[in-house]
Symmetry: C2
DNA sequence: TAGATTGTTAATCGATTAACAATC
DNA sequence: TAGATTGTTAATCGATTAACAATC
């Protein structure tokens, strides 16, 4: 029963880690639908992979199933939630209240995953002091004081590119543990964890795939039909 | 019946495709900085990988370099741009003008990559007809007519989860070639290409990494299990 | 028990890295 | 030419898939 926490902690590959939130999503849906029990085969169909991979993935963290039965949906959901820190009550601040910052502030993306937004920051005197979605926007000059006092875990970085790097450095110095980076500069993990989002990259991947698709049509139909 | 289209079209792995937008980004920066020439070694440092991988990646698409010299930045930039379709003048519509839809509409993410937003759509009578960022918001009832007439390539899906699937189906029927999906349902590629963004997944990955980091501290400090 | 399905080891496959000949 | 750096083949590594014994 000894979990692999401790000295000989297993190294989990990034590929596995990146699949965890998808397991979480599908398990949420099964749970909401009232499904009591699932199997590696059913999960593999949802995930678009093999049952083998599902069992390998889950076994990185422990034996969550039962031979001959499968996996209990609520139990597995709880386990994955814990692994992903949903029950840790992380606190986040949003730095930069442009359109994207505000869109995130008003979206359910945080609460659904157990993250609480506790403050918004901006440099623009015109918006500082205004209330958005229950939060009075604070002045960036207050950032360090606020972090010292409230110790937010996560900073959502939605500032203009030109001030992105210096802002990230301030945040790390101020002690945030992770940066959810929406600017299109590449932040590399120093003391804090960084998750680069790079929305533009996904748009480009889509464009590439569309182009590839069209080329196929062109060649197959020899240009007669689009 | 050769499934291979064209003249021996090479199959490019997804790993390579996902790195292309990053090459594009770093080359844009080098170009903007006026750098004339680069090498696989320099690019590998920016990308955080090996020179070998850079050469392998680029050679999937052609020999863009010159032995003994390296790569011309403007030339390589142009090549990667073409591969990614930056010069194809793709048109996009934004479906759903909530906070996220509006944030995207007003962001430079499209134009920078050669994609032009041509219309916004919403069901809400209260916003239909209003002008946002140069576009009069159209009623969703006009969607099919508009697509028939203007043939947008890409639909940005920022509608509520509850109507996400049906909206995606309407878009595919209406002939869009790609869906940039911001809803947190999993759309699987049918006739159109799909790029699922799943912002929440990246937030969860960040939370996982923060938690892992903290565990390490805990263990080093106290040897305590979590 | 018999049937089912996990947990886990072994085999396969693909991606990354290394090496070096080609050549600018 | 000599030096540099690519393009490309070969070796390594890691991730995925297959197989099956364990066991509920």
């Amino acid at each position: 029963m000894a979990r692999n926490v401790g000295k000989d902690e297993k190294i989990i590959s990034e590929a596995v880690i990146n699949r965890l939130p998808r397991y979480f999503r599908f398990l949420s849906e099964l749970k909401r639908a009232g499904v009591e029990r699932t199997s590696s085969t059913e999960l593999s169909e949802l995930m678009g992979t093999t049952a083998s991979q599902v069992r390998q993935d889950l076994n990185c963290f422990g034996g969550f199933g039962q031979q001959g039965y499968g996996y209990s949906v609520p139990y597995l959901y709880d386990k994955i939630s814990t692994i992903l820190g949903v029950d840790r009550d992380y606190c986040a601040i949003i730095v930069g209240t442009g359109n994207l910052g505000k869109a995130l502030a008003s979206s359910p993306v945080f609460e659904k995953r157990g993250v609480h937004v506790t403050a918004l920051f901006d440099v623009d005197e015109a918006v500082v002091g205004k209330v958005f979605f229950g939060h009075r926007i604070k002045n960036m000059t207050e950032l360090e004081d606020y972090c010292k006092r409230e110790k937010p875990d996560i900073a959502v970085l939605t500032v203009p590119r030109s001030v992105a790097r210096e802002t990230a450095e301030r945040l790390v110095s101020a002690g945030v543990k992770g940066i959810w980076n929406f600017t299109n500069i590449e932040l590399s993990p120093g003391k804090a964890m960084v998750q680069n989002v790079h929305l533009g990259d996904t748009l480009m991947t889509l464009c590439y795939n569309i182009g590839k698709n069209e080329n196929h049509y062109d060649e197959e139909a020899t240009g007669e039909e689009v």
